[in-house]
Symmetry: C2
Subunit: 295 residues, 2 copies
Amino acid sequence: MRTTLDCIPCFVRQALEAMRRLAGDEHATRRLLQDLLVDLSQMDFDQSPPMVGRRIHRRIRTLLGDDDPYRALKDRFNRHALQLYPALKRRVEEASDPFQAALRVAIAGNSIDFAALDDVTESSVNTLMESAWDRPLLGSPGGLRQAADAAPSILYLADNAGEIVFDRLLIERLPLDRVTVAVRGAPVINDATIEDARAAGLTELVDVIDNGSDVPGTVLEECSPAFRRRFDEAPLILAKGMGNYETLNTMSGHSVHFLLIAKCPLVAEHLGCRVGDFVASSNHAARLQKQGVRT
Amino acid sequence: MRTTLDCIPCFVRQALEAMRRLAGDEHATRRLLQDLLVDLSQMDFDQSPPMVGRRIHRRIRTLLGDDDPYRALKDRFNRHALQLYPALKRRVEEASDPFQAALRVAIAGNSIDFAALDDVTESSVNTLMESAWDRPLLGSPGGLRQAADAAPSILYLADNAGEIVFDRLLIERLPLDRVTVAVRGAPVINDATIEDARAAGLTELVDVIDNGSDVPGTVLEECSPAFRRRFDEAPLILAKGMGNYETLNTMSGHSVHFLLIAKCPLVAEHLGCRVGDFVASSNHAARLQKQGVRT
């Protein structure tokens, strides 16, 4: 997806909220915003929104002199998700369709997104998890299940810390010996890195690699050659979250299934759904309406 | 009120919406946003938000080559308000407290604000008018009534086109020979100018002057000497809308009553109320909580 004019006020708001959350220093926040405004005035609209997000968050890290300012938040939501994990696991196992139940939990976990949302709390996560079991799931979850069963290997692109613990419930429903989980190569916002995969217990369960990049999405030219090789060879890719959707949605040579909550009106419009919808959509179906029923 | 960092994403969003509404040309909209972003990066935060609003809308008018791009919208909402006027007038006259009923209608009219709001329609105006009779009115409407009865003259600062027709119902409850209505000196957003006062029938009813300025608020140093004289001599000023509040709220040498809907979280916080609240507040009471009961 290309960046649109509508993204600009949203970037400015996100940067303001991020600085307020991380620094609490109006002077530093003002300096960031002033730099950012000049930066945005010169931006290349052919870039995807996560490329702009990277620029904003590189600037925030430099201003704060902190390579990983979201570390405490990431730890906090990993801890919270790990507390929920045993009960969710039981509930998934007891569900009439454990695969789809796990898919719903993984998608609900996509609410732990400090880029698109500002009001993520333990309580908001709990509320969404509780409603996840009965929500419509747009796209082709059945198709995903079939593709996962048939694929000789699966590359699972994680999105955020905290969320990655909920991903584990879905990953446990996949053929573990054929799954590789990929995380970001360096800290950006609250996106999961190798540290979070470890906290979620994934490193003991499946292969985990990092993509070599600090883009909050998957821009192949920005990723390491090793990751690109794995990506190119992957017969099936599961991509979590809006950042991965915004950077991979035009990918046609691969089979990519996007698992996300639509949190922005433009992404929702692009997908053909509403803000807040749970989506499990394949890149081989143009829009959700064409992928048949809500399940 | 000074401009805060929170105003910046809002200015960018307002400029984007204004250009989309007026031009429908993505190329021109992009050019405006690019200029605006540089402009905002250098802005003086000691200015009030309406001063920044003026810069944005001067730029929009230049880019469009149109001195009054909101003219059609202003005419449309004048027409709509004039259609509602006879029935509202009857309802005010039949109310148990006609002054307070007229005050509510005038405040409800403040919803016709294309700066703070994007989704103003005839239908949204009708809905708000219908609910206006029973809404809590924060501040000191009783104090306003007493002040209006006692004042040897009253300066009424109008805000927007359309709204000015609803103002007429309140103005008709004031001693007409002592009222002067002031409008903006030149077009800016959908703020009322002399043309709108005429459309509302006010020029036949009371003295109408313009303030000589295109700021969507009242910044005295930007106003004409004639207006400033009238302002300085006015024993009682009724100021409609957020723009007038943001530019006059620190005024201590005058008795100013602000009549508005709080449409922005910062103004609401400043007033001590919630977004959406109807307010009739005097500058001689610091915050609404100190002005006693909701009526």
